[in-house]
Structure formats: structure tokens, C-alpha cells
Amino acid sequence: MNDSLLASVVTQTYLRTDVTYRLGLVRAYLEWVFFTEHAAGPSAALLEKHSTEARVSVIDSGFLRGLPESFWKAFGPETLYTELDTLAEAVATFPTLRMTVGIAFLHSQTEAIGAWARRAVHPQVLLEFETDRELGAGCQIVWRDHVHDYTFARALQGKREALMARVQATAGAQSV
């Protein structure tokens, strides 16, 4: 399998769940091309027809359209499933940065964080998000089986002694 084939899928996709979902989109489209339309290969016209018939969303159809011509040429009716399995196995080896945050992010926020992670952590890193409102701001991260806490709740715990001293001083001043 060509690395560029993998890069085509992963480049603009930062969440591991999104990668799995988009590989499913590719698979559904190629099955339709090869086994329903019995065409020689994908084309822009077939993609339009498939998007209409299968009611593919704008975002998903935009992703499919964004894949380069070289990507589609790698697949044929006989090699379809082999290539897709190879892609999935390769994706499974990518490192995962698991993050727990205090609020659910939209796509734009995850993209920003993913882009930073690809640049600063690992070029093939994939993100997994969980939400815990008790954390406030910041994030807990799990990287290579180690947990690191950078949340506001943790920061407050560090300041707990100082805060306690401040409260006691205030209470003592009031009681006097």
C-alpha cells in the first residue's frame, strides 16, 4: 500500500472515529461503483450520481471529492477489500492522543487541536475526545498509557492550601 494513499484519508481527518467513518464512506462508494454500476472505476459523474442516490451529506461528499485521482486508481473490483483492510490495519497502528475536556467541541475546534497535535506531537496522531463537565476548563490527556492532568480542577487543587489560608484569615478577621 502506498503511504500517500493513507495520507489522502488521514490528512484532513484528526479524530479516530472520523477516520473509521470515512473509510466506511469510501467503501460504500466503491462497492456502488464496482458492483452496482459495474463501472471501470470512480469518476466525478459517478460520485455526483452516488451522492444523490445515497443521499450523502455535503460534508461527506466534499470529503470524497477531495480525495485525489491517484487514490481512486489504487482500487479495483478484485483489490477493493484487500486495500481497505490494509488501510484499516495501518490506521490502527497510528498513535492516539486521548483527551478529556470540560465541554464538547465542534469540528472546527477539534481540527485546530488536531492540527496542533500533528505538528507538535506526531505527524500521524489521531485524537479521541471525552467530555466531563466537572473538569471545568483545560484537559486531561492520555498519551502512551500515561495520564496527565492539565485541568482547572487540578489547578485549583494545587492552590487549595493558599485558598484555605485566605479563607481562614478572612474568617479570623471577621470573628475578631
Binding site: 476548563a137 498519551w143 496527565h148
Partner: protein, 262 residues
């Protein structure tokens, strides 16, 4: 064939004729013997009435024997009944004679008992009168003794009361001095215990206040923390959250978190 048989004999000499005659004679004799046997059987049948008569005679004798036995049994029963009646009469007379003797003996005993009872009644009456007089005498003596002892006891008690009153009067100053000393000691002890209790209560209140204040302070801190956390979680925009997360990740990178290798 018989004809041919006789014809064959006719041709025989004299010996043959003699043989033939003997054979004829034997045949006739056999026929006669059979006839006699049959006649004997019939004769037996004709003599059957004689047998019946023998049977009837036997039955008549048997009935005569039975009748005789019955007559003898009646005679025996009559004799037994007569003897039983005689025995019963004899027993009855004997019983009546014994009953009469018993009644006479009971009457004699009753008369003797009545005489004895009359005799002892007089003795009991006399004994009762004597006992009553003795009891009256004893009662009067006991009453007099009790009155005398009561007077003695009263006198003795009065004496004892006077002595006791004198003892109490003598000991009164000593009692009053002891009471005053005890009251003073008790007062001092109570004052000391009260002071100790008050001091312990003050210390307990102070400890409780300190503990309570510590708990309240901790609660205040928790409230502040939670309030701040919630305020941060809800008041910040998504972009601000994203920036904080990016800042946290940058800090993690600076601290070398992402250089960790499995």
C-alpha cells in the same frame, strides 16, 4: 355252512356220532346252568320283603330303646328337682335362723353402746365445767401480770427517753461544729469541681469551634472551587476552551509529556 357241517358228520363213523351227542349234551347243560343262575337272581329279588321286615324290626327296637331312655331321663330329672327343692328349703331356713341370731346380737350391742354413751356424757360435762373455771382463773392472772409489766415498761421508757434527751443535748455543740466544717468542705469541693467543669467546657467549646471552623473553611473552599469550575465551564466560549486546551497541550509538550515512549 351248518348243513355242510352236519353233512360232514353224517359221513363219519360211530365214534363221530358219539362225540356229536356228547357235545350236544354239554351244550344243553350249559344252557341249563345259565337258566339256574338267572332263576337264583330272580329268587333273591322275591325274598326282598323279608329284609325290609328285619329293618323295620330294628327300627322298632331302637324306638323302644329311645322311649325307655326318655322315660328314665324324666324320672331322673324329677328326682333331681325334688332333691334341689329340698336343699333350697333347708338353706333358706338356715339363713333365716342365722339372720335372726345376728339381729339379736346387734340389738344387744346397741343397748350396751347407749348405756356407755350416757355414762360418758356426764363425765364430759363435768370435765368441761372444770376446764372453763381453770381457764377463767388463768386469764385473770395473765391480765394482772400484763398490766403490771406495762407499767414497768412505761416507767423504764420514760427513764431512757430522759437519758437520751440529755445525751443529745450534750452532743449538740459537737454536731453543730461538725456540720459547719462539713458544709465548708463540701462548698469548697463543689467550687473546685465547678471550676474544673467550666474549664473543660470552655476547652471543648473552643475545640469544637476550631474543628467546625476548619470544616466550614474547607466547605467554603470547596464551594469556591466548584463555583469557579462551573463558572469556567459554562461562561467560557468554545474558542476560549479550545485556546485553554491548546495552552494546556503546549505546557504538556514543554514538560516533555509527548516525548514519553512506551
Amino acid at each position: 355252512m351248518l348243513h355242510s357241517f352236519f353233512a360232514s358228520f353224517a359221513s363219519l363213523p360211530f365214534a363221530g356220532v358219539a362225540f356229536f351227542g356228547l357235545a350236544t349234551f354239554l351244550l344243553i347243560l350249559a344252557v341249563l346252568i345259565g337258566f339256574v343262575i338267572q332263576l337264583n337272581a330272580r329268587l333273591r329279588l322275591l325274598t326282598a320283603p323279608g329284609y325290609d321286615r328285619i329293618v323295620k324290626d330294628a327300627e322298632a327296637r331302637a324306638e323302644a330303646l329311645i322311649a325307655e331312655a326318655r322315660a328314665q331321663s324324666v324320672t331322673l330329672r324329677t328326682q333331681a328337682e325334688t332333691a334341689a327343692t329340698a336343699i333350697t328349703v333347708s338353706r333358706k331356713e338356715e339363713s333365716e335362723r342365722l339372720q335372726k341370731a345376728e339381729e339379736q346380737r346387734l340389738e344387744t350391742l346397741t343397748t350396751q353402746a347407749a348405756a356407755l354413751l350416757t355414762k360418758h356424757s356426764d363425765a364430759v360435762a363435768k370435765l368441761s365445767e372444770s376446764l372453763e373455771a381453770a381457764m377463767q382463773k388463768q386469764t385473770e392472772a395473765a391480765s394482772a401480770s400484763v398490766v403490771s409489766e406495762a407499767a414497768d415498761i412505761t416507767k423504764a421508757l420514760q427513764g431512757e427517753a430522759g437519758a437520751l434527751h440529755k445525751i443529745i443535748e450534750d452532743m449538740r455543740p459537737q454536731f453543730e461544729a461538725s456540720y459547719a466544717a462539713l458544709a465548708k468542705e463540701l462548698q469548697a469541693s463543689l467550687a473546685k469541681e465547678l471550676e474544673t467543669d467550666v474549664r473543660a467546657a470552655r476547652e471543648a467549646v473552643a475545640a469544637y469551634r476550631t474543628a467546625r471552623m476548619t470544616a466550614l473553611n474547607a466547605e467554603i473552599v470547596s464551594l469556591v472551587e466548584e463555583t469557579a469550575r462551573l463558572a469556567f465551564g459554562q461562561a467560557l466560549s468554545l474558542e476560549t476552551h479550545r485556546d485553554i486546551v491548546l495552552a494546556a497541550l503546549e505546557q504538556a509538550r514543554r514538560e516533555g509529556v509527548f516525548t514519553t515512549r512506551a
